[in-house]
């Protein structure tokens, strides 16, 4: 450490009467890294499931009536009008009290997929409304079947329209994985929580954790932009 940096460090320590122990965080680095990997995995997987179910919800809700429409509406309203933490608790403690024990990883993944699907359904609904109805008719008249029309004509346009909403939701999914901490999952927050409980140096641990979350969010955003720009050419 340089002389000036050391002097600054000393002054900060004097001001707070507190010495920072960053080396403790460094010692727990493998656990934090494993947690970061778990966080990234949960965010991406829940987004994949959320997109699949969200598309289904949006398409079903377009119909405006029927049994599937009612199921989809209840799903979307429940996902959007209750806290994510509640959805995770229902999966973990709620199902547990019914005798269905699932791991904290599975309950966080299911709850987040449920949540993402609800929010993405509304994003997709706005996008679908912006695609002209005759696009579908034109695709069908060219001899494509319904599935082909959706995958080759409607969905590519849809993903282009809703791109910004989609990326925002992806960052939300990343941030929401931090709630795994509440059900004892050792994703990034949970790993930091567990690691700091040995030394109670919570500031150092959670400061580094915040930096890692920031970096992960930027990586996800950059990845989405790269994938998007390649598609547009």
């Amino acid at each position: 450490m340089g002389l000036r940096a050391r002097a600054f460090h000393k002054r900060v320590a004097l001001m707070f009467g507190y010495t920072f122990y960053w080396s403790l965080v460094w010692d727990a680095w493998p656990e934090l890294l494993a947690g970061a990997w778990l966080t990234l995995q949960l965010a991406l997987l829940s987004m994949v499931f959320g997109t699949v179910f969200g598309l289904w919800l949006a398409l079903v809700r377009q119909r405006g009536s029927g049994g599937a429409y009612r199921v989809a509406s209840v799903w979307v309203e429940l996902a959007r009008n209750t806290p994510v933490l509640f959805q995770i608790y229902i999966m973990y403690f709620g199902l547990g009290s019914l005798g269905i024990q699932i791991s904290s990883y599975a309950s966080v993944l299911i709850a987040l997929s449920f949540n993402n699907a609800g929010y993405l359904a509304e994003i997709f609904r706005g996008g679908l409304a912006a695609i002209h109805r005759q696009q579908m008719a034109a695709a069908r008249s060219l001899g494509l079947n319904a599935l082909q029309s959706y995958t080759h004509v409607i969905f590519p346009q849809l993903l282009r329209i809703v791109f910004y909403g989609f990326v925002t939701q992806m960052v939300w999914a990343l941030l929401n994985t931090s709630l795994g901490m509440f059900v004892g999952l050792h994703e990034l927050s949970g790993a930091a929580q567990a690691a700091q409980s040995v030394s109670f140096r919570s500031f150092e641990f959670f400061f580094i954790t915040a930096l890692i979350y920031y970096a992960l969010a930027k990586v996800l955003e950059a990845g989405a932009y790269l994938a998007f720009s390649r598609r547009r050419t």
Binding site: F16, T82, F86, Y89, S202, F207
Partner: protein
Amino acid sequence: MQFVLSAPGLHWSDGWFLLQGALNTLWVTAVAGTFGTLAGCVLGWMRQRSIALRVLTTPYIDVVRSVPLVIQLVLANSFLSLAGFTFDTFWLCVMVLSSSMAVVTSEVVRAGLASVPANFCRSARSLGMSGLQEFIHISAPLALRTSFAAWVGLLLGLAKDSALVSVVGYVEYMKSSQILITRTNEALPLLMGVGLFYFVICYPVSRLSVALERRMAL
């Protein structure tokens, strides 16, 4: 020797405990919502009017939007305690929640102001209105129409986010239910109560805001 817990099952007196938690949720949402909205309006207005201020405030907005609220709460809590401030938990939660509310509100306010056609502002100025008059009579009412429903959505998001403040020890509705679950082991009815509580608040309000937006539309 046998230990007997005083009240293992759910009791009517627990209703009082839950009510307190519910009031705490509403109170922290109301206070943080007020401060957050005021700060967000100022921030959004600044970001709309000046490029320099937009560049200056971008890192703050970027960080608040890319770090989980739980981490922000824990970090603020430990930072304030090691800096030697003694803070009431309630005000700590209000501070962090209103900061995040301010950030999302500022984006909505900025989008609302940007949606006001530039010609409207110019015509108002050419009619002799001052900048402030133009803002009060032309820009603000028009921006309010486009951003009201989005703002209500943010407020409901804040109410749902307030379920996380238990991480620094503030007992709101979610935490009080969780305490009762730990004691009585009756997870499902209590969790259903939690879901119902948030749903009953959020669902009608979001419906109402959409209806209001339609009525306000030009």
